[in-house]
């Protein structure tokens, strides 16, 4: 799923590992989400959006992503 995770993470000066620690997932999980290889669960999407103080729709682009 297309998302702004990489941009937001870099704006906050975090590495993938550091962001992973904030939301209790591995660096590989963050990397896979950023590259659109893995769609996070609704709870992980919520945790990520909450961390950046945004809504899920603002972080993840549902409109431009293919429905699976």
């Amino acid at each position: 799923m297309k998302n702004k995770l990489k941009v937001l993470r870099e704006e906050h000066g975090l590495t993938q590992a550091q962001l992973g620690e904030k939301v209790n997932v591995s660096r590989q999980a963050i990397n896979a989400i950023e590259n659109g290889k893995f769609d996070p669960s609704i709870w992980l999407a919520y945790d990520l959006a909450k961390f950046f103080a945004m809504s899920i729709e603002e972080v993840f682009n549902f409109e431009e992503s293919a429905r699976k």
């Binding site: 591995s26 996070p40 669960s41």
Partner: protein, 150 residues
């Protein structure tokens, strides 16, 4: 799938299946009754099957058992000495896909083995031994690579 989340559950499952396979392979390696079930040498003009049959007849299955034990110990060390206690959802999704692939292969193996037993039972024991050893060694190597990568 929730069970997959816990690395200790993974370790227990791998340990149990490895214990069964390694015991079987070590126990049958020099067991006369088992060896008598093998096809007579050169039943078919196949270098591969004759070679594999001779490998089993020479009592070498125990080395596959030792290999399974060694790989399992390495997996245990990586799980228990590492700091991983629970896998995250991305890691579980990869484990799930591996599990589904293994299940599909097992489902395919069954009719193949049935057809083999009913049509041409030559080298049946050798084939089952090869499939069992190949499948579990593949699982162990895949899990080891998974632990090293993720």
């Amino acid at each position: 799938m929730k069970l997959l989340k816990n690395s200790v559950v993974n370790a227990i499952f791998i340990g149990l299946i490895s214990a069964v396979y390694s015991f079987l392979f070590i126990f049958i390696s020099n067991h006369i009754e088992f060896l008598s079930l093998l096809s007579q040498s050169k039943t078919l003009n196949s270098k591969f099957w004759n070679g594999w049959s001779n490998f089993i007849r020479a009592g070498n299955m125990k080395y596959i058992g030792y290999l399974i034990i060694s790989l399992t110990i390495i997996i245990f060390l990586l799980i228990f000495l590492g700091d991983r206690k629970k896998y995250d959802e991305y890691q579980i999704s990869i484990l799930s896909k591996s599990l589904v692939l293994g299940a599909i292969l097992s489902i395919i193996f069954m009719p193949i083995i049935m057809v083999m037993f009913l049509s041409d039972p030559n080298y049946s024991i050798e084939t089952v031994a090869l499939l069992a050893a190949g499948q579990w060694l593949s699982v162990l190597v895949s899990y080891l690579l998974y632990l090293l990568r993720y």
